[in-house]
């Protein structure tokens, strides 16, 4: 049996020995820190554990989600669990999908100098600058699409020389897309109308009163006749 290999990591500058192969988050915990700020879903969805780090002998400042990245020997790291960023307040009912709507709520978007630092700071590898540029030209659908996988960790906003709050602006773009550019589902409208007219009340009432054995039979029948994949 091999011994567990230990590596050195520098958490906020302080040297710690941790077993190799742990995520940055688990390495921080192994080193004795009980995280209150800086851990959320622990699975790459919430953006609570945004981390910046440098590797030994490398000038590049790198970014990661602590829960999704393995700690490496010689890593200099700190979590950035919060980024000050002002969110625009709006009434989604009154917002319209016109071209300059994002600029109206986030005028600083116009300050983008296309340096692409935001894209390089994104632990999700999103094309952040491209969606900011899409906003500038009023292409809300593109901005919504390109920003969709954003976990709102805020690293883009922390690094931007134009002081843009990318992830808040993107949230607005997506909501405008979802509400105004994507149209309501006709099937859904119809079904709601049917429910409100009481179309299913009788059937559900019957199911609720059905003897268990009969219901089990009906259930298995339903499972057997499950919809098959359409071509």
């Amino acid at each position: 049996m091999e011994e567990t290999k230990m590596i050195k990591v520098y958490i906020m500058g302080k040297e710690h020995e941790v077993p190799e192969g742990l995520t940055i988050m688990k390495a921080i915990e192994y080193a004795g820190y009980k995280i209150v700020r800086g851990a959320g879903c622990r699975a790459g969805f919430c953006g609570a554990c945004a981390t910046v780090y440098r590797k030994a002998n490398d000038y590049k400042l790198r970014v990661a989600l602590a829960c999704q990245t393995v700690a490496e020997d010689g890593m200099y790291l700190t979590e950035i669990p919060f980024v000050p960023a002002n969110k625009a307040i709006y009434d989604i009912e009154k917002v319209t999908p016109k071209a300059n709507i994002i600029l109206q709520h986030y005028p600083e978007v116009a300050r983008c100098v296309a340096c692409n630092t935001c894209t390089k700071s994104c632990p999700q590898d999103l094309k952040v600058m491209d969606y900011i540029q899409a906003m500038k030209r009023g292409d809300i659908a593109k901005a919504a699409e390109l920003s969709f996988d954003c976990v709102q960790c805020g690293l883009c906003a922390a690094r931007c020389p134009a002081e843009i709050v990318h992830y808040h602006a993107a949230q607005l773009a997506r909501r405008i897309y979802g509400k105004y550019i994507a149209k309501p589902s006709p099937n859904l409208e119809k079904r709601i109308k049917e429910i409100e007219e009481g179309k299913y009340d009788e059937e559900i009432k019957k199911l609720k009163q059905m003897p268990l054995e009969e219901m089990k039979k009906k259930y298995m029948e339903q499972q057997k006749n499950a919809e098959k994949e359409r071509d």
Binding site: C112, A114, C115, T119, D130, Q133, K136, R137, G138, P161
Partner: protein, 291 residues
């Protein structure tokens, strides 16, 4: 002929009719404007600070995209429409050629794209039509005529200044008059052709722009024009959309329609003008000339 083309932000929103008419008209000449992939805002306004490389990155990125697309299409040209974009791109392009050290710095910063080699030629569509197509050929290709439509050709600042990127004479530019004259328009003498429209003051000093617009439009009318023709979405906004504010201050003011030059070229070659894109409706003027 396929040429890389940089639209700019306004041409994707308020000035969509500028882009559309330019693309349509170019097609009639056998020129396909190929939009740069992944282009970004030109970075307007050009920063005059000598060591402000950060504010030139946007242009350099676009130059790289133009260079790479150009390699595929076999050309080093890049066409622009918006006077502001043209000016910003052309100025940075000049800097890139004159200051290789600064270009190196920019290239090193932009580590996600190939280096810009400094060889792209930035052209405003007007220059391209003049130098690489020729107005004579245009006159031959364009079937229709503008029936003597009286126009005040307006250049504003950015097409003719500064010296090293100007498309025409700084004080007495003639390109628009020549071009539109070839397709049947009649361009009037227009002393305010290179007057500033008030530019970005429109955002926080509307009053200044109102005065400018009032003066410029009246001068066009006094010189006998029925419409203004131009090549800049910001000038267009100030001269067209701001006429509403002018009217509020000067109740006797008479509105005048404003065209992009490409709209008139497309019109002359048989396309329709999108009248809904205009604040001051051009319908009456077009009717007057049977257009």
């Amino acid at each position: 002929m396929k040429i890389p083309y940089f639209p700019g932000c306004s041409l994707k929103s308020d000035a969509a009719h500028f882009e559309q008419s330019a693309i349509e008209f170019s097609k009639t000449l056998g020129v396909e404007l190929v939009e740069l992939p992944n282009w970004n805002c030109c970075g307007t306004v050009h920063s005059l600070t000598t060591d402000d490389i950060m504010h030139h990155l946007a242009c350099v990125r676009n130059m790289v995209h133009a260079q790479e697309l150009g390699k595929q299409l076999g050309t080093n040209k890049l066409i622009t429409l918006c006077a502001m974009c043209y000016n910003t791109l052309a100025q940075v392009n000049e800097l890139a050629k004159k200051k290789p050290d600064d270009l190196k710095t920019a290239n090193e910063f932009i580590d996600d794209l190939p280096d810009y080699e400094g060889k792209v030629e930035v052209l405003h569509l007007l220059t391209f039509l003049n130098n690489y197509v020729s107005f004579e050929k245009i006159a031959k290709v364009v079937k229709g005529r503008l029936n003597g439509l009286k126009l005040a050709p307006y250049y504003g600042c950015l097409l003719v200044r500064p010296e090293h990127v100007k498309v025409d004479d700084r004080e007495r530019p003639v390109l628009l008059s020549k071009l539109l004259g070839m397709v049947g328009a009649k361009c009037v003498e227009f002393p305010y052709a290179v007057e500033c429209c008030g530019s970005y003051h429109t955002v926080n000093l509307k009053e200044a722009v109102i005065e400018k617009t009032y003066t410029i439009v009246n001068n066009a009318r006094e010189n006998g024009a029925d419409a203004i023709v131009l090549s800049c979405p910001l000038c267009e906004f100030n001269l067209d959309k701001r006429q509403k504010d002018v009217k509020a201050v000067y109740p006797t003011f008479e509105p005048m329609p404003v065209f992009y030059f490409t709209e008139l070229l497309a019109l002359a070659s048989g396309k329709k003008v999108n009248v809904n894109a205009h604040y001051v409706s051009p319908e009456n003027v077009l009717r007057k000339y049977g257009l």
